[in-house]
Each structure stands twice: as structure tokens, then as C-alpha cells.
Amino acid sequence: MKGFTLIEKIIKSHSNELDNEIYPGNIVWINLDLVTARDYAGPQVIDLFQKNYLDALTFDNKKIIFTPDCYPYGNDPKHALDQEKIRVFARKHNIRVTDLGSGIGSHLLFRRGFSKPGDIAFGADSHYNILGALGILGQGAGDVMLAFAMKTGKSWIKIPETVKITLKGEYKWPTTSKDLALYVLKQLHEYGITGQAVEFYGDIISKLNIEDRITLCSLITEASGVIGFIPPDEVTVEYYRKQDIEIEALTADGNANYISELTIDIHDLGLYVACPPHPHNVKPIEEVLGTPINSIIIGSCTNGTAADIREAAKILKNQKINPEVRLGIVPATREDFISAHKENSMTTILDAGGNFFGAGCSTCAKGQYGLTGGETAVTMTTGNRNTQGKIGPADVYLASPIVAASTAIEGKIALPKTRDD
């Protein structure tokens, strides 16, 4: 019998196609489990829906969620009006809204059990593929696709080839999953995975918690890949069990067809920083030590969880940030914010001179703390994109929360010295 990769299996179970139509390069129609939009694309999706389908009902209002997360407090009239448009449409169609302060939509999907392994979720967020960390086929989509999907519950997808990646070896503190993700991004960008899916294997995987897995999978977009999957395992099952959701492990077939297989050696991996002007311009930290930095953000769907804030707090305990530095923390979700408060990381970071902002997206969307001021504001963020000119006119570096916190103390890119456990 023909074997299938994870993505092929998920696509097959959501389409009406026979086995022989499920192969890389073929385009098939799929039925979606969840369609979402946020305050960037949401208003345009609603406009397109109403212009093309007038007063038609959505395919299933229980399978749609609006997740405004880019402009947390509607910080100019246009943003506020856009958010209002979402609320009015949602009320009319009885659609759920995770409104301001709830956090990043993609994170809410797994944190609140809206989506589970084996599902397909489409949303207006190019990092929806982080959901591959839980075995969910998450995909970012534009306004047209989402308006169509809200009407029909369907979408088309070009079945991607899959690359099987084995991570060989282990790393230890201060190296984290962000360094792993940056290192893997560098390798995959050179290798070339444009339009391809990836499955991650290796002994390290079972030791990565859900937050680590999210970080690892969040940089696939930056290599122009479709998605990175971590096959759901005991860690995933346990994560959902805590939410009273029973799921089954999901694996690729033993005889699945991969376009290629790649082993990446991560033994004793060091610390890495993505340098301007691209996320894939990843260098060992040693090459950029001492670079002056004065604007630092810990947040985003890549590294904005309570676990990330905790790691930064360990570095900042009983320390003061450099007076030249502005340090902002943007928790990914309300749940992360509450944990940071309960665990006391919030007080530790405030004591050190950092600032907290409302839960949601951070530097990647410009809605909050995105644009830094002027030519002299050199930024380091734990986010996922540093394209030149995106955040501000000056350079932007990407690094782990540990490196970001250490850099905040020194005012220049620095190695972590100690941590307080």
C-alpha cells in the first residue's frame, strides 16, 4: 500500500480525493476545520465576503474565529474602526472573537484547544505553520482565500514535497530552542526548502516541550517552507490531556516518500543571532559580540511565552538594564501573562527596568512596539523577522530571550554570564 507523509495524510483525510491523487505537486480541494482572521486582514476579508456573497451565511460559524492580536488597543482611529468592523460582523454571524488582550491567535488555537493534531486551520498569519509543532496543518492565507473559505469551508492546496530532517545530538544551557531554530533556518535556507514541508525527527524531539517545538517550527516560513511538523507524541498527548482533550498520536507511514533526507548535527550547539538584513543571515554570536543595541523586545509567536519570559527573568534577577536600553516584554497570550505574574518573573523584570505591554503580537506586526524610532534605534527582538526597514530604519537582530536579556544588561550583544535559578 502507498505510504504517506504527515502532510499528505492530513490532506487526504480532509479531501474527497482517492489515494492516487495524493502526491506532491498536485492541487486538491480540502475541507477546513477552522478559519480565522485577525485585525490586519480581517476587515478586508469581511469586505470581500459581503461584497461577493452579500448576506449569505458562513459555512459554519462555529468553525470561524476572529483573533485581533496586531493592534492591541486600536491605537489610531483606523485600527479601532477595523476592529469594530470585526466585532459587528462577528455579532451578526454569531462568530467567536478572542478580543484584545487575549493574545496571539495562533497560540490561542492550541492553548485553548480550538485546534488539535490532525486538523487543518487557515488564518491570516504567515506563522500559522507554527501549529505544525502540534501536528496541526496550519497555513497562512490572504484575504481572498479566507473570504472564500468563510463562505465555503474549503480551500485548495498544492501538496508539497516533504523533507525528512533528523536532528542529531543535544545542546545545553545557555543554548535554547531559539538557537536551534536559527541554526536550522540557516541550514534549510542554504539547502533550499521553498514550497516544501519538513518533518523533524531525532532523540532531541522527545525532550522538547511544546514551547520549544513552537519556536523550532516558527522559522520555517523564513526559509520559504510550507510547514515544519513534529509528529504528535506523548508530550503532545499530555499537553492536550491537561485541557481534557484526548488525542491520538499521528505518524507518517513507514514507507512514506520523502523528496530528500537531511541530518543536522546539533551536538554542543552554541548561541546564534540572525543579523540584518534577513532572518536567514544567521551567525554564531561570537561574530557579533559587542554590537551596540538599544531597543530590545521579548515577545512574538516565536518566543513570547511564559517560559521565554522566565528565562529572561533568570538573567535579569537583581540586575539593572543598561540606561541606554529600552526593554519591552510582550506576552504571547493572557495565560502567559498570568504565569509570568504568578512566577514573579514580571516583578523581576520590572525591577530590572523592563516594561510590560499587553498580550499579543510584537515587532512583526507594527501595531504595538513594532516601529522603533529613527536611525539610531538598533533593535534586538526574540521575534522571527528582521527584514531591513521592517521594524525601523536601523538594523534589527534576532536572538533568544537569554541573549536578549544579557544584551539588555550590557547595552551591546553579550553572552549570558549567570542565571538565578
Binding site: Y40, S126, T194, G195, S224, H278, Q388
Partner: protein, 168 residues
Amino acid sequence: MSVEKISGKSKLVKVDDIDTDQIFHQSLLTIHDPQEIKPHIFGNLEGYENFGKENHENKVLVVGKNFGKGSTRQQAVTGFLAHKIKAIIGESFGPIYYSNAVNAGLLLVEAPGILEFLIDDLDTLEIDVSNSIILNIDKRTKIKCNPIPKPALDIMKAGGLLKLGDKM
């Protein structure tokens, strides 16, 4: 729309890894109107900042690898439609960008090797969709391109994905 044979003057933007923030910057995302999007296209791409304000009607854009990587923003497609760009030929495209373009009726043509294929600005290019060939009429040369998938052609012939949704 007829998509069998498409021709137009070339406009070269041979830069790899052009991100959606370089096509249409995130600070402009509350702009939805195509005519308002138009002047901002490539506003954050070094060397091409004036592209949006120039006339590129009926041109065929030639780009490099991973064009349109990055965000899901539809404006990065809408802006080229507003410019009446006929097609974009590239080494490869970001997967989300590819689907956004097909859905809105913008033809993207994947042509591995296009960067080495000799084209000057304003050469006349012809894309023979049925035979998957790109011709440089002025230079009398040609190069193979990847076939356009039939479902993508069907969506474009229907005038975009939203039209299909009427009946579903």
C-alpha cells in the same frame, strides 16, 4: 481572461528573497484600496523605491528566488494588479504569495534558470502558457518554465477564486 499567451515588456527586479515588507510595508496595512496601495509597491526595496510611482502597465516583471516570502498580506498582490502588471516570472515564489496571487488572478510563472537567461529591461517577452515556454522576442531566445497547474489556470480563467465561491 485569456491566459494562453501573454506578452509584455520586461521589467527586471532581479533581487532574491524579496519579502512582503519590501513589497508593501507593514506600516501601511490599514490601506485596502488598490489605487492607494499602488504607489507604495517596492517602497521598502532598496533601489526600487520609485517603482510604485512609475508606469509599469502591461509589463512582465522578472524576479529572483523566493519572491513574496514573508507575510500573508494580500496587498502585496493587489498592488501589482493595480499596476496592471501582466505576469511575474521568477526562479521561485513564497508559497503563501503564490496562492494569494492565483486567487486574485495574478499570473506567476516559475522559471528555474531565469536569472541566467539574458533579458534587458523593456525586452518583449512572451509567455506561452500551454507549452510552458518563455520567449524573448528581441533576443530570439527561449527558456522552459514550470507548467501552470490546471486548477490554478481554472481559478484565473474564472476571474479569481471568489467567483467560484458563488456556487459552492
